[in-house]
């Protein structure tokens, strides 16, 4: 295809220069621009990109060079860069994951601290209540014991007073009987009957 296309383009491209520049080289003026063709380097055409004679060597070396480039890129260079990028990606993901884990841990620790704090507070409150209750119960008990003792003593005292009083009363009667008997005997000279005296005293006491 290039053999039929190539020369056709060369004719078009080289019409203005081919007439002006002989193949021997040197300089010539075409359209006011100095155009020089170095001797020996022009392969039948003065416009290098359309010079068909250079095509095969360009193509062969391009194929070899590009194949080499493709192999070097796909086998060595690109996997290397991909590896680096992947490693970084993994590392960042790992770091993020670890950071998340640590955050969860610290949150759990904070929660545990809160819980411990509130339980300690509750315990302290309980201890305080318990102590207060115990102390007040003790105070109450001792107060009751004291009151009971006092009431006991009071009642014994009262009983003693009452017995003393009855004893005294009994003594009073005896003394009165004796005194009345003595008085009567002193007055009349004869001792009255004790039963009569006792009855008279009792009657006097009742009055």
């Amino acid at each position: 295809m290039s053999e039929t296309l190539g020369p056709a383009i060369i004719v078009v491209a080289s019409t203005e220069t081919a007439q002006a520049t002989p193949h021997a080289g040197g300089a010539a003026v075409a359209d006011g621009v100095v155009i020089a063709v170095p001797p020996g380097e022009a392969h039948g055409s003065s416009f290098p990109p359309f010079d068909v004679t250079t095509f095969p060597s360009q193509l062969i070396w391009l194929v070899i060079a590009f194949a080499a480039l493709y192999l070097l890129m796909s086998r060595i260079a690109l996997p290397r860069i991909a590896n680096i990028l992947e490693e970084r990606h993994d590392r960042i993901a790992d770091d993020l994951e670890e950071a998340g884990k640590m955050r969860a841990e610290s949150e759990a620790a904070a929660k545990a601290y809160e819980a411990a704090l509130s339980s300690a507070r509750g315990k302290a409150h309980g201890i305080a209540t318990e102590t207060r209750d115990k102390l007040s119960a003790e105070a109450e008990a001792s107060r009751k014991a004291l009151e009971a003792g006092l009431a006991d003593k009071l009642s014994t005292a009262e009983a003693q007073i009452a017995s003393t009083k009855t004893a005294a009363m009994a003594n009073v009667r005896g003394i009165a009987v004796d005194a009345a008997g003595t008085i009567v005997s002193t007055l009349i000279g004869t001792a009255p009957a004790s039963q009569a005296v006792e009855a008279a005293v009792d009657q006097a006491i009742e009055n």
Binding site: A36, S57, W61, L62, M73, I76, A77, I81, E87
Partner: protein, 252 residues
């Protein structure tokens, strides 16, 4: 002096080692071939040298290598999807080859490999050849649905098929001509304006003053050419991705 301002001279191919004419075909190791291998070596040694540390936090060179990788990869993913990544080495090789060839061509006295039609045409044929071969291997005759747009009235279908076939066949032509013409025209324009400077400075003091104008043009054109050098490599890679997408998903 005449050879200095020949704008075509920079495209000249000369033989470094003549290999004779086996089978009537002229073979030689030329300056073009030397530059091709130079590009391959440059790319390979840059990429391996830049990634020698394999560091987690990339050095400048390593991030440049990673950027070129990510750039091509994201292009493929956005045009051909994740499935297109099986063509990644091919697209990357094409992109980096054209890019480095274009940039190497910007070095004064250097040869621009991509300013030769046969090189760009061979690369375009490689792309289209890959599309056709992979398309038939993957989809068989279903690949031909590429030329039959759906939802078209029956009486229009023959015309549409003809148009689709023509558009498919024009792809390698446009792909190769675009790159070739851009590099050729840009380099010629730069050389022509540079030639004006030489011609005008030969005309004395007035000429020296007048040469400021073409000098400004050359500076501006150089900047433009650097842009074009990157842009054409990018366009070549993106179009390659789009054509490969057709091989992956034929049918509209």
């Amino acid at each position: 002096m005449a050879t200095e301002i020949d704008p075509i001279h920079q495209f000249q191919i000369f033989k470094i080692v003549d290999l004779g004419t086996p089978g009537g075909i002229e073979l030689a190791f030329t300056n073009s071939a030397a530059f091709m291998f130079g590009i391959v070596a440059l790319v390979f040694f840059f990429l391996t040298f830049a990634t020698r540390g394999r560091t987690l936090v990339p050095s400048r060179l390593q991030s440049l290598a990673e950027m070129s990788y990510e750039f091509v990869a994201s292009n493929i993913r956005s045009t051909a999807g994740n499935e297109g990544m099986k063509f990644f080495p091919l697209v990357f090789s094409l992109f980096i080859f054209v890019l480095v060839a274009n940039f190497v061509g910007m070095i004064p006295y250097a040869f621009t490999v991509t300013s030769h039609l046969v090189v760009t045409a061979a690369l375009a044929v490689l792309v289209i050849g890959t599309v056709i071969v992979y398309g038939f291997i993957r989809h068989g005759t279903h690949f031909l649905h590429l030329f039959v747009p759906s939802g078209v009235p029956a009486f229009l279908l023959p015309f549409m098929v003809v148009i689709e076939v023509i558009s498919f066949l024009s792809r390698p032509i446009s792909l190769s001509l675009r790159l070739f013409a851009n590099m050729l025209a840009g380099h010629i324009a730069m050389k022509v304006f540079a030639g004006f400077i030489v011609m005008m400075t030969a005309g004395g003091a007035v000429g020296w003053l007048g040469a400021v104008l073409p000098l400004t043009m050359v500076v501006a054109l150089t900047a433009l050419e650097f842009l074009v050098a990157f842009l054409q490599a990018y366009v070549f890679a993106v179009l390659t991705c789009i054509y490969l997408n057709d091989a992956l998903h034929p049918g509209h």
